[in-house]
Symmetry: C2
Subunit: 201 residues, 2 copies
């Protein structure tokens, strides 16, 4: 076996720990970085360091870098604070927010473990959500939307969250199911077509 420099081996190991990067891709990226030279590497290194300025919103756990404790959305008085959408990932929030169709606030719970057993930090997040709802006038949220994936594992996760959140709102909803825009009926699966029939209008 050829011995690679230790610094290269370390960066390959660290890259391979990032989401959806395997050891082979990590090796390719590491060699790519080395071939780009020290200036490019220093640039990426300092860009990374600047990430540590990013804060996490005390209310919804989205990221932000402005002053205060709250992100842009939670700090916005025009957003309905009694309408809450629970999402798993920051990227889900971004996709939903980019529709420009939602005027409530979000809550990032983190990716649900496959087992359905919430991690301790997720329990802490849920506790803080409950506390914030109990601080609302009336002590309930108008509606909580569970924006989980429309899959059977998403349904399972939703059933767990419904148990946790049922006392905090009169209306627990999920995102509507049906045909994706731009799709064709011919290629839709049974489940999707069934949902599309049910949610017709």
């Amino acid at each position: 076996m050829i011995s690679l420099p230790q610094s290269l081996r370390r960066i390959i190991k660290e890259l391979a720990e990032l989401p959806s990067i395997g050891p082979r891709q990590a090796t390719r990226i590491a060699f790519h970085l080395v071939s780009k030279g020290s200036q490019r590497i220093a640039g990426l290194s300092s860009s990374l360091k600047e990430l540590s300025n990013i804060k996490t919103c005390k209310a919804c756990y989205f990221i932000f870098d402005s002053a205060g404790d709250l992100c842009e959305i939670c700090a916005n008085p025009q957003r309905d604070q009694t309408l809450i959408m629970v999402v798993e990932k920051e990227t889900d929030l971004i996709s939903l927010e980019n529709t420009n169709k939602y005027k409530g606030r979000y809550f990032i719970l983190g990716e649900m473990p496959k087992t359905g057993l919430l991690e301790d930090w997720q329990k802490e997040r849920l506790a803080s959500l409950k506390k914030s709802i109990l601080n609302l006038p009336g002590k309930v949220a108008k509606e909580i939307i569970l924006a989980l994936n429309p899959t059977s594992i998403g349904d399972f996760h939703a059933s767990i969250l419904i148990r946790e959140l049922a006392d905090l709102t009169p209306k627990l909803s999920r995102l509507g199911r049906g045909l994706p825009s731009g799709g064709e009926i011919e290629f839709a699966d049974d489940e999707t077509l069934g949902s599309a029939l049910q949610s017709r209008g």
Copy 2:
């Protein structure tokens, strides 16, 4: 559109420029890093910085971090300096070296452009290879192996390199073609089976 912190946007952009990472995966990785906290980010940032200690071998362009101008292989007096294997990528060199079947030296030309037109830096590398061969006793290499992919684009690239290197060696070879070990005849394509028949023994 939601506005992300500038430092996050910058790192997403830089990550998306790495080989085989798209913008969506770059975004996921960036959020993953932020969620891992500043200690982890600082760790990756400093690991990256240490990459700049890595040097490139003056002879074969492989990387190394020991003293001197030559990598482990080129500096090894037990390797046959008159037997040269031309590879495109560092990772090709690693795979071939790990077979423990080769006792010559390597030469990294960089990935061949699809057009077959060598980049200027590749022309410089080839010029340095030619110079090093002309410094050998007899002014020729015993053999030059073109370790390019066994594909039609690899064949095309080989034809270009044969033109460049024909004067420098009496023997220009390519890696043998045939059935991959562990494969099944039933699933082999015509081209592979044809090569396997030709190279039988």
